[in-house]
């Protein structure tokens, strides 16, 4: 008869490695975004070449983060993939509906300020977080 040992499985080790990899790529992307956003004003006085380079590097690291996220997702077990998928679907729906409605608010003169993309990003992050929390609670 099989007797499972208490050692961490290859799957658990691989999952941990994928999580760490995603964390490092995300931190690198946030750092590069900060350089691309604030560098032109505070470091190189809007010189074109460094601005373009910073933007390209930010996008390159961003694509690295996307690949890391894909590997992370593929490394999850099927329940966690489902929780992730449900939260992602909710986020996509809320982002689309609320994002377009928010943009419409200015067009139809219900708000006087320009809608900020960052507001939508915050809303999508919070929606994803809530979706993940509810997903985990549902299967506890």
């Amino acid at each position: 008869m099989n007797d499972p040992k208490t050692r961490p499985s290859d799957w658990a080790t691989s999952n941990k490695r994928n999580t760490l990899r995603l964390r490092y790529w995300t931190l690198a992307w946030v750092a590069m975004m900060a350089v691309a956003a604030f560098g032109p004003k505070y470091i190189w006085d809007f010189a074109t070449l460094p601005t373009i380079l910073a933007l390209l590097m930010s996008m390159g690291v961003g694509f690295g983060m996307i690949v890391a996220n894909k590997r992370y997702l593929q490394g999850l077990d099927e329940l966690h993939q489902k929780i992730f998928l449900d939260a992602g679907a909710l986020t996509l729906g809320v982002g689309l509906v609320c994002g377009l409605s928010y943009e419409l608010l200015e067009d139809i003169k219900l708000i006087s300020f320009e809608p900020e993309i960052s507001h939508l990003v915050v809303l999508m992050c919070l929606t994803f977080l809530v979706g993940m929390i509810f997903g985990h609670r549902r299967y506890q």
């Binding site: 099989n2 499972p4 208490t6 099927e78 329940l79 966690h80 549902r138 299967y139």
Partner: protein, 66 residues
């Protein structure tokens, strides 16, 4: 879908974590399957069947036909 995972695990004196490690899933997934909150995929059901040395039908039963 009903299953005998909890009984089979208890017969072998395994913890959920140990079974999860063998099936290469998280402990939460084993718990959700045992409670009937989550139905495993066919590959995972086959893996469980291989682990316990049984057929899938001996472990998982469709509630509509049982």
């Amino acid at each position: 879908m009903r299953n005998r995972l909890k009984v089979l695990r208890a017969e072998r004196d395994w913890t959920q974590a140990q079974l999860a490690s063998e099936l290469e899933v998280s402990r939460q997934t084993v718990n959700a399957i045992e409670k009937g909150k989550f139905d495993p995929s066919l590959p995972l059901a086959f893996k469980a069947a291989r682990l316990f040395g049984m057929s899938i039908e001996d472990i998982f039963q469709d509630e509509a036909t049982s």
